[in-house]
Amino acid sequence: MSWSIEPTLPEGWELVVGLEVHVELSTATKLFCGCANRFGSEPNTNICPVCLGLPGSLPVINGTAVKYAMQLGRALLCDVKPAVMARKNYFYPDMPKDYQTTQYEQPTNSDGEVVLPDGFTVGIERAHIEEDTGKSTHIGGGGRINEAIYSLVDYNRAGVPLIEIVSRPCLDTIDHAKAYVSGLRDILLAIGVSDARMEEGSMRVDANVSVRPVGSDELRTRCELKNINSIRSMARAIEYEARRQIDLYTSGERPRQETRHWDEAAGRSTPGRSKENLDDYRFFQEPDLVPLVPTAEEIAAIDAAMPALPAARRAALVEASSADADVVATLVERGQDALALAAIGRGADADKVVTRLRHDLAVDDFSKVSAESFAALIVMETSGDLTATQAKQVLAELVDSGGDPRSIAAERGFEAMHDDELADLVDRLIADNPDEWQRFVGGHEGDRKKMQGFFIGQIMRATKGQADGRAVADLLAQRGRSPANGSPGT
């Protein structure tokens, strides 16, 4: 997780953001027909009378899409209820029926929440099922539909199942907006209902942005930002829009309710359709489909099969390790929480587990590191069988090739260098180098440091680097405090 620095808005203003996230479900077929739900095919190859909306064709709902929607609903802690499909009527050439089949008054999922790593809770108003549209390419006229010389429409995407996840207007910072979108993506990937790729458009974010004076609870006129292609682009678009609105208010003007088109290259948004004459979509119940009524058994089965979700995984790791929230979030995001919990469960020291994972396992592929070997390694380190340096080397080899940390340590000659063995070595060295010892004991700070380096170097040479430098320093300090201050006790 990247923790950016929150851009500061002008003094006295705060953000109010609600996000509408469209997610394409990764079903094999479309929402209402048997056509392949596939990205990147030749235009107009995954089509049939139903998804082309030909006269006389009728939709049949894809049961897997409904199940995926309910899974997502439960993962978002929504109420999953009987739902009714509805028609949203408006003309657009890439929408074959000139209405979109969606859910309106009775969505499948409502009233949920997503808990962000810092504990902030994002309210989910609804997560409803709907169909995607086709894709238009307008040739000439600046790519706009009514100025184009001609337009091409690809209906491969028409009828692809979507879930629209509508948050409440409760996001108060750009960081929370970013954490929410990446949190949603983590959930989608965890339950496996979407590949959630913003760059391919399988996850699309529209942001409703308004601002208000700090401390106020009013909801002012909002603008809807479209054409956001990444989390970074969303952050820039929201910041730009917030500043634009604050500038308007401070110069005595007011924003108009409108849809604005984000231009990532130019770093600004331009006004699209004005929403002053609100679109009238003439919603009504879709008469070609019957209501979707989930049974208690279906919901129970979904709950039973639900994998651990990021928020719960973070909570479990905090519970087991007492590590800081951001460290835990990082480990969960990397998918290392299971390894941590397993190692801790096998008796490895929690602090050491978290430290090694955080700093020494920041790699893409740690699949060869088993919980068992990782736990064994941490136990070896904490019991003094391995030094920190050795433990890191063994861990690196585990990442590359897996195996048993004990054998790796043995192969490398990282044999046990126990405390009493090391103490004997230190005592012998002091006896063999009385001048240096005196300079260590009696010298000023600089001499002492220098001589500590000398002794540690000697020990390292004698042990071929197997000794723990810190342990040597501790022994030297201890011997230096003994009453005789001279050569060690005989």
């Binding site: 082309l52 006269p55 009728l58 049949v60 009527n89 003309f91 209405y99 070609d288």
Partner: protein, 482 residues
Amino acid sequence: MSALDTAAAVRAGERSAVDILDEHLARIARRDGEIHAFNLVTEGLARSQAESVDAAVAEGRDPGPLAGVPVAVKDNTCTRGIPTTCSSRILEGWLPPYDATVIERLGSAGAIIIGKTNLDEFAMGSSTENSAFGPSRNPHDVTKVPGGSSGGSAAAVAAGFAPLAIGSDTGGSVRQPASLCGVVGVKPTYGVVSRYGLVAFASSLDQIGPFATSIADAAVLLEVIGGHDPRDSTSIPEPAPSLLDVLGRGVDGMRVGVITELAGGPGGVEGIAPDVVARTRQAVAALEAAGARVSEISVPSAILGLSAYYLIAPAEASSNLSRYDGVRYGLRVDAPTTGEMNIASRSAGFGDEVKRRIMLGTYALSAGYYDAFYGKALKVRTLIMRDFAAAYEQVDVLVSPTSPTTAFGFGDKTADPMAMYVNDVCTIPSNLSGHPAISIPFGVGDDGMPIGVQILGPAQSEPTIFTVATVLEDVAAKGGAQ
């Protein structure tokens, strides 16, 4: 010759399907110039189907229960590679890439698709006068309308162009023309016949139904086209009702109710002609004589059906007909921008009645008007369902006229849409409730034109209403409807 007799003769190898086809084509050639039942006679398809049927019989295979029977199909039913126009300019030239489920089932039963019949544009009308290709004429009197919207199908059967026809009934569009043309017409329970491939007018009301010259022929056709279809989500997940076996059961002890409001009773619909009321009463008396227990039943909300229907049906139509935008198929009138092209295409492609209903429906669904119009109409629909459910606690079937009058003249009602809409007052309640109803010819009016009597029943009561209709058919055949 009835459809059943024709199929029996073909299956037995006594008649050739091709010969039967040629007889019907000859009749069409002789008289359809005057009647205009057909938008298109599909002679090529029909001949190849007839040849296959004959070949099957020759090889000892059974072509099915409708072997060699010509069937006329309303031109809002998709036929692969064959124009399906809905009698609208906007679909001229469109060739569906697929067959409707009913077309597939007719083919599997050995039926011969003889042609596509004329209708009021997109099934909106009660006289076929709204067809973009000109009206059909009533075979009993060509100065009169055949009714609508399935007027072409009704006229085709009445004129002997085909023993059977397929229509669609959204507010009475099978039963009313059946009544005006003196043939049998059935609106099955919503969900008994698949709507897959029926070009939608009002999806929650549309139901495909048979036309025939006898109850038994209508029964066999419904048995063939009915039954669950996974491609229609509103299709009832059951096989087609078994009808032929039960036609002769009689009505002894059956409880029959006359709908007071639709049969000249107090507080009822005005404008139901006295001769029509008289025939309806006569039919009820005949049922009583056959052993039925008859009573008057008041269904107060039945008369509200008309108003509810003319909000719900246009509302759904306004959405269903949005897709005719000039982008993908059918008529396109070029214009500088996409939006202007949509408007130009729709303005040129749709007739006045279709435009009227699109505007009505758009208005009824609009924000600010939804509750007062569409929302209220849905409540009336619920009320009608409740009232009919209560009526069916007391009786097994209900009886009413099918149409308020016999066939009227061309132009008599085109100037006043409301006068035209009232034609559907007796038939609309069954569409709103989703229940089945059948219209059977029962005598003639003062003008000598056919009168139909309607038998209504609760959901999936087709076996019962067909049984009652058979009793009346026998009475009429014996001269009891004079």
